[in-house]
């Protein structure tokens, strides 16, 4: 019997080790797995590298993870959003390493890690400071930069509905990075607004098949 359900956020994030690479879904606050991040922060893990698009907003979710001193490094495209005060404070005081990656390159590097692709050649960032130190190569007269895959130890994602096999569907633009991060880690943990009976999700419309998901927890949708 496959049953990936967990009783609460704390149980859902159990066992995450210091020093893990943690992929986190969301785009700004939309689709941010805030409660899972907060539960992880409460466990006082240390030395995390987080891979996500923005660097949190306010003193909760990703912001709380950073505030609690859990994060050594953040890999993201756009750390500054309204309310990203914790990030700015840590960054400016040199307490947080930052790797800026173009947004599509984050998505593609994580997908590559999920797909068994070690590296790929993209035009993005060629000729810019973000390509410095990276291998460049010409194909058919065009210049490309080689990017390496990112593989997470853990992914924290948010979805709308899930079932006990870990199948997930999203709601509107909360989808964003969540299905990508969900594919990209050894241990994928999803918070959902509702866990439904197995078979209630239409197999045509499942966005994240359960094969990618290890734990599902139903939490109040606190954002809306």
């Amino acid at each position: 019997m496959i049953d990936k359900r967990r009783q609460n956020a704390d149980e859902a994030v159990a066992g995450i080790k210091d020093g893990s690479i943690v992929l986190i879904g969301g785009f700004g606050m939309t689709g941010e797995p805030r409660e899972l991040c907060s539960a992880l922060a409460a466990r006082k893990v240390r030395g995390l590298t987080i891979v996500t698009n923005n660097a949190g907003s306010g003193e909760f979710g990703i912001g709380l993870l950073m505030k609690q001193g859990c994060v050594d490094k953040i890999v993201c495209s756009f750390p500054r959003v309204p309310g990203s005060v914790i990030f700015e404070e840590l960054y400016e005081s040199g307490k947080l390493e930052l790797e800026i990656v173009p947004q599509g390159t984050i998505a593609e590097r994580v997908r590559a890690g999920a797909a068994g692709i070690a590296a790929f050649y993209t035009r993005t960032s060629w000729g810019t400071p973000l390509a410095e130190g990276k291998e460049a190569r010409t194909f058919d007269g065009k210049d490309y930069v080689m990017e390496r895959a990112i593989r997470g130890d853990v992914a924290l994602v948010k979805a709308y509905k899930g079932d006990r096999w870990g199948n997930l569907v999203y709601s509107k633009s909360m989808r964003n990075f969540n299905p990508v991060m969900a594919m990209g880690a050894e241990l994928t943990i999803a918070q959902v607004s509702e866990i439904v009976e197995l078979g209630d999700l239409d197999p045509e419309n499942i966005v994240t098949p359960g094969i990618f998901v290890d734990r599902v927890v139903q939490l109040e949708a606190l954002y809306a």
Binding site: F78, R80, P102, I195
Partner: protein, 250 residues
């Protein structure tokens, strides 16, 4: 003195340059306003990097939905025919050449088409690039909208830019508060100038060598309010209480 276009008027002009049937991404900042001015007789499909095709702005009276935002985290709605997808698919669209246009802001545009729009060398804060580097090489044409000159009068269209680049050889056309300038293999061609400004004056305010198109026109837009017409970004609510687990089965 000649009246410069305001941001809404520049956005209006950009919107009217985009043909029916186009797929268009709007960069964060000033370009997001373009969605407000699309002519009614065109089907333009706006792409938002966070996974939307077919977005439109809120109509008066429509409530913002925190689960439905654009690349600037501002609330939007969907047109009939729109679709949601995830970030890897969204940037496949961007990077694979599926968009007809991207509209981007700029710190500087060089006459060779180089664009700098993500970072100033003297910035103190953390850098942030978002999807700009993906868009510059991805969309078929890059339209830039910006003020012609910065607050201290320095031109944004320059012979060569020393700023950190977003992309090389990528800009197709620049829409400013005083002109519309096409960048061609043959240099920077002025297509439109606002009423009351001479070509020489435009050239004086520009860092790159310009040529006036034979069929140049006056740059004319309706008078539009100065105020931003796009809804504000969604803001975080007060810190939420510590999350309470809920029985997964209940």
């Amino acid at each position: 003195m000649t009246k410069l276009l305001n941001r809404n008027e520049i956005a209006w002009r950009v919107a009217h340059d985009i043909p029916d049937g186009s797929y268009v991404n709007l960069g964060v900042g000033m370009p997001l306003a373009v969605v407000n001015f699309m002519p009614d007789d065109r089907d333009i499909v706006f792409h938002s990097e966070n996974g939307l095709l077919g977005m439109r702005n809120l109509k008066p009276g429509e409530e913002p939905d925190p689960e439905l935002v654009n690349a600037g985290k501002r609330p939007v709605r969907m047109l009939p025919g729109g679709a949601f997808f995830h970030h890897a698919d969204s940037f496949l669209m961007i990077r694979g050449g599926h968009l007809d246009f991207a509209v981007l802001g700029a710190y500087e545009v060089a006459e060779n088409g180089d664009l700098a729009n993500w970072r100033l060398p003297d910035s103190k804060g953390a850098p942030a690039v978002g999807g700009a580097m993906d868009l510059v090489y991805g969309a078929k044409k890059i339209l830039v909208m910006c003020e012609h000159n910065s607050k201290d009068g320095a031109p944004k269209i320059v012979k060569e830019t020393k700023l950190p680049l977003t992309g090389r050889d990528c800009v197709s056309k620049v829409f400013t508060d005083i002109a519309v300038i096409e960048r061609t293999g043959d240099g920077m061609i002025v297509r439109e100038i606002i009423d009351g400004m001479s070509f020489n004056e435009l050239q004086d305010r520009t860092g790159a060598k310009l040529r006036l198109a034979n069929d140049w026109k006056p740059l004319v837009t309706p008078d539009l309010p100065v105020e931003e017409m796009t809804p504000r970004a969604m803001r975080p609510k007060q810190p939420t209480p510590q999350p309470i687990g809920k029985n997964a089965n209940g």
